[in-house]
């Protein structure tokens, strides 16, 4: 009897679920921008104009929209490279290194097979990039399972190994003597990703990224493999007792993570740079982590958050150009958004405890 009424009471309480889910995000966003606004104001800039620049630059011209998409692709893939292992309870901080070796893999194929037809080289370069990234996820997974070395440590350290690899290739093996910056010679155009929009140029990596994001979401929420990964992340002991091979899931999650970041690297080379440039990883790892964390590991939310972040990035460069506000400022905004989203979680948990029946 008593429990019956409780249940009804809670059902009613939870009816506007969507609003309850998105409202904290909106509030967090508002607070973050308000806080950052105070800083901008204190530094003596025009807050309103700064925010207009940050938020609307992406939509002002076709060119800046394409710029946003070009950021969106690696941010999405690197965010997924974090959220997939995250679902299994593993922390992949090696997206950067996996991206670099992925880019390296694509470059190797793109240069060595530069005279072969595109139908062979293009997919092979992509697959090699994915494979290299996967290996860069597999080794930390193996070290974790074999020697219990924490994956945060190994994936981070593997980033540093990849810096040396890219340095070596770009300065020793295929150095482009004309370029002022450590860069390899260009890959053959048979390895270039075809364009989907000619002017301003937008390569088909966007299609790939969206398809992959959808596939990851379907895999994690609809398949038994995804179920087992989520269960492993939720409670490895219980999962093991109930027949899930948790070690395999840990390994698989890190390998998928590595493969996704590797793909990001390959797409960056084949679609955008067309050569291996030292520093191509940019700050995509951090942006991916921020995206994955703001999305709270929800793969459906990842592309949306990634687009938002890409927008901020493009807006930030514009802000620097037109208002001389340092681009790093957007980092502060992004960090504030993340902090506020995390804080809104704490607030909500408190509220839940207060309103919980049992």
């Amino acid at each position: 009897m008593l429990e019956q009424t409780h249940r009804q009471a809670r059902l009613r309480f939870n009816a506007p679920g969507v609003l309850r889910q998105t409202l904290p995000y909106a509030v967090a966003l508002g607070i973050a921008f308000a806080l950052a606004g105070i800083f901008i104001h204190l530094m003596g800039y025009d807050v309103l104009r700064a925010y207009q620049t940050i938020l609307f630059t992406s939509f002002r011209s076709a060119n800046s929209f394409v710029q946003t998409i070009l950021k969106f692709i690696p941010v999405t893939l690197l965010a997924l490279a974090f959220t997939v292992p995250f679902a299994a309870g593993k922390y992949n901080i090696g997206g950067e290194g996996q991206m670099i070796v992925g880019a390296t893999g694509a470059t190797v194929i793109g240069i060595l097979l530069r005279d072969e037809p595109a139908i062979l080289v293009l997919p092979l370069a992509l697959v090699t990039g994915v494979l290299f990234g996967a290996i860069w996820g597999l080794i930390p997974a193996w070290l974790l399972l074999k020697f219990r070395i924490h994956e945060i440590l190994t994936t981070t350290l593997f980033n540093f190994i990849s810096y040396s690899i890219i340095d070596y290739i770009a300065t020793e093996i295929w150095r482009d003597p004309v370029a002022g910056h450590p860069t390899t010679i260009p890959i053959g155009d048979s390895a270039w990703l075809p364009l989907v929009v000619r002017n301003p140029p937008l390569h088909s990596g966007i299609v790939l990224a969206l398809l992959i994001a959808a596939a990851v979401w379907v895999y994690m929420t609809r398949t038994t493999g995804g179920y087992e990964m989520v269960a492993t992340g939720a409670n490895p002991e219980a999962s093991k007792i109930f027949g899930i091979k948790t070690s395999r899931m840990f390994m698989l999650s890190l390998v998928i993570g590595g493969a996704l970041a590797g793909l990001a690297g390959a797409v960056e080379v084949e679609g955008y740079q067309h050569r291996l440039i030292v520093g191509l990883q940019s700050n995509f790892l951090q942006l991916g982590l921020i995206t994955g964390l703001i999305a709270k590991g929800n793969n459906f939310a990842v592309p949306f958050v990634a687009f938002f972040i890409a927008m901020l990035e493009v807006g930030a460069s514009a802000m620097q150009r037109t208002m001389q506000i340092p681009v790093e400022f957007v980092f502060i905004v992004e960090a504030l958004v993340l902090l506020c989203v995390l804080l809104s979680d704490v607030v909500r948990r408190r509220e839940w405890i207060r309103s919980s029946v049992r």
Binding site: M1, T223, T224, N235, I241, F242, R358
Partner: protein
Amino acid sequence: MAEIVQTSADVLQMQGVYKSFGARYALNNASFNLEAREIHGLLGGNGAGKTTLMNILYGLYREDKGTIKLHGKQVEINSPKDAIARGIGMVHQHFLQVENYTVLENITLGLPGNNRFSADYRDETRVISSLIERFGLQVDLHARIEDLPMGTRQKVEILKALYRGVGILILDEPSTNLTPQEVDGLFKSLREMVNEGMSIVFITHKLQEVLDVCDRITVLRHGCHVLTLRRGEATEEAFIRAMVGEEMKIQESVLFADHARRSPVVASGQPPRLYVDSVDYKDAHGVEVLRNLTLDVHAGEILGIAGVAGNGQRELAEIIMQVYPPSSGKIYLDGRDITGMEANRLLSLGVSYIPEDRLHDGFLPKASVAHNLILGWHHQEPYSKRGFIDWAKVSREAVELIDRYNIVTNGPSEVGANLSGGNIQRVIIARGMGHLSTLLVAHNPTRGLDIPSMDAFYSLLLAKKEVRVGILLISENLDELILMCDRIAALYRGEIMGVIERSRFEKYEIGRMMSGVRTDT
């Protein structure tokens, strides 16, 4: 609600006590009084508020509202230290002891003494020895805590309180980890203390214990005081009614009504459902946890495993469930060797498992209720086909299970962590009972359930027995085993001390086996 008549003879009066955790009232106008020189039973189902009320008295929680009077004077108790200073001691279900200290050191720990630099314990030893003598609490003062069984550790905890000179002693479910013999010993000691002028509060959900030892009995339900009576003033039935309220039909219950129980028909030539053949198990540290253990469970039979916690029960269950392999020996299911089989294949043969440690071994707090309900069956039809989970089907099924097992939740998609302990246990039971066809291994399945849910679980168990499921019921609750089982085997330090048939069930006999005395069967 009956009013309590409070007299000047009371050493303690608690009145109109409210306490809420979040929106839930743990105590809702509870009252309690304690006379001098009495053992007072505080009775009620899980979640009735017994422990909360006493934790307030002991200063662990602060009441939202209400008054506490000690010897007629209103007091405020802010911490256990306060409580001890006022002569109130409490022995919890889980002891806080320093495992690698001796008994003596544990008892005197934290008290000022002039032996800080000399470690001269002569005075203390004298005092404590006299306490041991007076109350019959035999303990070796120089033994290390980690080497002692639970029953002895409990004596240490009681001595700790006595040494601090308490006049009111609260015991929270003190019989949980004891053999019947140890329970008797405890009751005798309690009686001695009362004779010397102490008052004792005895928290329990077991009616029989209360009727055995208590002078007066208070029943709480839903945080409310229901009644207080002297032993003998009311029938057993009246107390049961007070505990469970009107929600439960006692005549139909397994717990309280006497049912004629059919013993299972063992078909000749049929292999047992489960046959554990001379299993040994050494853990990672090389400790022998199970020794030459052989047992069988037939179709339609409930075999009970009795034993004090920590005698190898958990390892036995996990080895049967193929969580890890035995060091030697074999396990057969319907005559088929399943040793070393993958856990998911075992589950698909119709074996179910209700693990003891529900949070650690059985539940996915970060996943949804629906996720939890199909754990272990997620790769089978109808829940999934060709690698894809049919969430519509799972959701429908989950709604049905939520309803049938009275799980209080917003629905299948609610996050598991939002559920209360009792509801988590219901989810695990729903999962274990919903998919079952051959064998059920259940380890302390009713821990944390209230009385109606416990009773419902027992009926389900009997129904499964009817359809010839073999059931291995591992439980620390001997009453539960005696109520439900066809045979009981007692486990002591990883060995079976003997197996007793239902017709020869006798509490003390089983208790002897639980403490390591072999019985020929």
